[in-house]
């Protein structure tokens, strides 16, 4: 059989790095093919080459048996290549049908297109109303619009870039059904993800990239998530150890008491009556689909946005709702924010200066002047204890890789020996080795008696390290359940906002 897509010896060089080094990739018709690799392995470059966004420096692209030159995304679409991006490109104020009509070549009839959308939506289990406006749709529904937009053009190859990060587990299952259906009709699917369970469940074959090179081709069904991970990182997978059978004490360190905070901007989320207690020595996880108030909650806990009433936030027994970040830090709070560059660190400052950014309340500043020797010594300690790989502590933050910078920021916050540590997406976009090191450091901190709150989309991660898990949906917080007493299904249900009943039963 002729492969649908056959990449041969694709090479692409960027200044300072070889993004793709003689990469070969073969996708058969009707095959669901996983493209697997850590951040920076070259997945997105390769996909951009297929979709005509980036030109390769060398190599050949064969499409259905003949060599092609894909000059731009229009050419890719004309060949029958569709792509669903991680970030959607939809006009909020237009309807579903109008958005889809904008995405395809002009000269078609909107009424006819509307019918077509209805048919596709029925055939592939993608329920959507073509006349609805985008701004009224949930994230999952928006993704459906993106998929339908590809499908109306009868693609022969559909590229999905990390499609499940915005979906609840139930929505993921639905998406998989749609993709299997498509594949059974002969459409090839190139599926990019780093979620190994999903790949095992969905994909027929996988190509693994590491540092721009193909390191393995395999059939995911025959592998375990562990062996897949090891192919990705090229070494044995580090294991996190949790000290077992810890008795949890009821000694509240951080209390959110009916926190209510209207959205700061029109696209933000209104936090409503958020109540949560974080006890000494406890790790609490906060799951949820992105954009449901996580950003707002983290900013409110850190003090970047003040609560309307000082009693809505208690830190170690003191009302801190009206205190700013520096005052809360003095009270024992530390925070690893969602964005590493530009918020967690100043990109063009050295690691030493970035240490001073949050670590200046313990004798580093004397009579208004900075004790540079002291700060530099602390930066060196962070670098050594958290294995931050960089030329030295005078290196600029932006010159570090994502994983190393994250280890630095987590290290900076943990070494301040906080009573309460808050982390926003601590391992997002971090390579597997660094992620394991970060999780281990979090567990070690909680073993010393600190309380830790983690906001993450990665349910596996939360189940691995948390004592209790709660879900945030549309600015409201579910009850927190013991990790052993809940399941992915229940959390998934909660993620769609259905935990009113649980609250009642929990209170009883």
């Amino acid at each position: 059989m002729t492969p649908q897509l056959d990449l041969r010896e694709i090479t692409k060089r960027y200044p300072g790095c070889l993004a793709n080094d003689r990469v070969g990739l073969t996708v058969m018709p009707g095959e669901i093919h996983a493209l697997l690799g850590e951040n920076g392995a070259g997945k997105s470059t390769l996909v951009k080459i297929i979709y005509g966004v980036v030109k390769p420096d060398a190599g050949e692209i064969w499409w259905n048996g003949s060599q092609v030159d894909i000059a731009n995304p229009n050419a890719a679409r004309a060949l029958g290549i569709g792509m669903v991006f991680q970030h959607f490109n939809l006009f909020e104020s237009l309807t579903v049908a109008e958005n889809i009509s904008l995405g395809i070549d002009p000269g078609h009839d909107l009424a006819k297109l509307t019918n077509e959308i209805g048919e596709i939506s029925e055939r592939y289990g993608l329920p959507i109303n073509p006349h609805q406006h985008i701004h009224t749709l949930s994230v999952g529904e928006r993704q459906r619009v993106e998929i339908i937009r590809c499908l109306v053009q009868n693609p022969r190859l559909l590229i999905m870039d990390e499609p499940t990060s915005v979906l609840t587990p139930q929505e993921v299952e639905k998406l998989f059904e749609t993709l299997r259906r498509l594949a059974s009709e002969g459409c090839s699917i190139l599926y990019i993800s780093h979620k190994l369970d999903e790949i095992k469940a969905l994909c027929d074959t996988a190509t693994v990239l590491r540092l721009g090179k193909v390191t393995a081709r395999c059939s995911p069904a025959d592998e375990t998530p562990k062996s897949l991970a090891e192919m990705m990182i090229g070494s044995a997978l580090p294991v996190t150890k949790k000290s077992t059978n810890r008795e949890l004490t009821e000694e509240p360190l951080l209390e959110l008491r009916g926190l209510d905070l209207p959205a700061a901007d029109p696209l933000g989320t209104h936090l409503q009556n958020v109540t949560l207690t974080l006890n000494r020595g406890e790790v609490v996880g906060l799951a949820g689909v992105a954009g449901n108030g996580q950003k707002e909650l983290l900013a409110a806990i850190n003090g970047e946005r003040l609560a309307p009433d000082k009693a809505m936030l208690r830190l170690d027994g003191r009302d801190v709702g009206r205190d700013g970040p520096e005052e809360r830090r003095v009270q024992g709070l530390a925070f690893v924010p969602e964005e590493r560059l530009g918020r967690g660190s100043v990109p063009e400052m050295s690691l030493t200066a970035n240490t001073l950014l949050t670590w200046h309340h313990k004798g580093q500043v004397k009579r208004g002047f900075v004790d540079l020797a002291e700060v530099s010594a602390q930066a060196i300690t962070i670098r050594e204890m958290f294995d931050v790989r960089c030329p030295g502590v005078e290196a600029e933050a932006k010159s570090l890789s994502g994983g190393n910078l994250q280890k630095f920021i987590v290290g900076r916050e943990i070494l301040q020996e906080p009573e309460v540590l808050i982390l926003g997406y601590p391992t997002w976009g971090v390579d597997v080795g660094a992620a394991a090191a970060i999780r281990q450091a979090i567990l070690n901190l909680s073993a010393t008696g600190a309380g830790v709150l983690i906001v993450s989309e990665d349910l596996d991660e939360l189940f691995e390290i948390c004592d209790r898990i709660a879900v945030i949906a549309e600015g409201r917080l579910s009850p927190a359940r013991r990790t052993g007493n809940t399941s992915i299904e229940e959390l998934g249900l909660w993620m769609s906002g259905q935990f009113e009943a649980a609250e009642v039963s929990d209170a009883a």
């Binding site: 000059a71 003090g303 970040p325 010159s399």
Partner: protein
């Protein structure tokens, strides 16, 4: 073959130092072309502009006198610019500083003593700060743009000065000229070198230079200002209040501009006149950027800018060229500084295109 701009992995330190030199070189080349078109001998013109002012002790004194207010204003401005606080009204704050210190000298006329000298410096700094407090307040309270507010207040300050010297403060012995009395002995800065007009204001500038250097390199408040300028989200995360950064930046630049006006009237003019500055406050913006917002760079840049003022005058005197040449040179210099700044973060590479693709 094509030229391509490529982002550097990290900002180039070498280029940070080299770009002001490159910019100065390009300004020279543009100057040669300019004089060529005007029909004058470009090399004689450049000699008159850049070298002649350095050939006598007197004119070197003049160089330092003019560099003093430029340096003072630019030092303060560079603090604000580092923190993303755009004070464009140093000229107005300079004028207010002069009014405050001059007003004090006139108020105690004929009853002065050694105490007047430090008090006038203090009054000048406070006058500049008061004028800078207006944009600071409006920015922090109502989010009003400090660029517009500070710029417009410049013209208000100049009008106030004009009103005072034409009216209430006009010298009774001045034959109705719009100027005040000459300040008393203790209202004048001592001359440092016999045969020049070089006054002790240079020391004020040097002290401020040391203070600003220390502030930016070692103080925690200086660190906060720099973080706020480079990464506002990081400043918010760490809890550095943006309001305090705005206030600190504007107070520092207001104080140094006020001091600039003060040393100018105490040292060079020795009275108040309708015009006390040929645009030092505006030229200082160029000086701050040419000096890379670093105190040492600002010192060198203020000397160069001062030389351009003197060069413009000597061109006018010995070659009959219009004084506007000074403005043209200042503009060219700023243009080339900002243009060559690209090289700090990007490098130019010659790329051989091995395949031409149809559009």
């Amino acid at each position: 073959m094509q030229l391509r701009l490529e982002q550097r992995q990290s900002t180039s330190r070498a280029m940070q130092y080299a770009t002001p030199v490159i910019a100065a070189g390009l300004t020279m080349i543009a100057g040669i072309a300019l004089f060529g078109v005007l029909g004058t001998d470009p090399f004689l013109a450049l000699y008159t502009f850049f070298i002649q002012p350095l050939t006598s002790l007197y004119s070197i004194g003049e160089l330092l006198i003019k560099a003093t207010p430029l340096l003072l204003c630019a030092l303060g401005l560079s603090v604000g610019f580092k923190g993303n606080v755009w004070n464009i009204g140093a000229e107005g704050q300079l004028t207010m500083g002069a009014i405050a210190s001059g007003g004090l000298a006139l108020a105690v006329y004929a009853q002065d003593g050694p105490w007047l000298l430090p008090l006038m410096l203090l009054a000048g700094a406070l006058g500049g700060m008061a004028w800078a407090a207006i944009p600071a307040f409006l920015r922090t309270r109502f989010n009003a743009n400090e660029i517009l507010v500070s710029l417009m207040l410049t013209y208000v300050a100049v009008q106030i000065l004009g009103h005072l010297v034409h009216g209430p403060w006009r010298s009774p012995e001045g034959f109705n000229f719009p100027e005040t009395r000459t300040f008393g002995d203790w209202g004048q800065l001592p001359i440092l070198v016999e045969g020049t007009r070089l006054h002790a204001g240079v020391f004020v500038a040097l002290l401020v230079f040391l203070a600003v250097w220390l502030f930016l390199s070692r103080s925690f408040q200086g660190f906060k200002v720099t973080v706020a300028g480079q990464a506002p989200a990081a400043a918010a995360y760490a809890g550095f209040s943006n309001k305090s950064v705005v206030w600190v930046s504007l107070m520092i630049s207001g104080a140094t501009a006020g001091l600039a006006g003060t040393v100018e009237v105490m040292g060079t003019i020795q009275q108040l006149q309708p015009v006390i500055s040929p645009g030092y406050g505006f030229a200082a913006i160029i000086v701050a950027f040419l000096g890379r917002l670093h105190p040492v760079g600002v010192v060198l840049a203020s000397l160069l800018m001062s030389l351009m003022y003197l060069g413009g005058e000597s061109l006018q005197m010995s070659m009959n060229l219009p004084l506007a040449v000074t403005g043209v040179f200042q503009g060219l210099l700023l243009f080339f500084v900002l243009g060559s700044d690209v090289l700090v973060r990007y490098r130019i590479r010659l790329v051989r295109t091995h395949q031409t693709e149809p559009a």
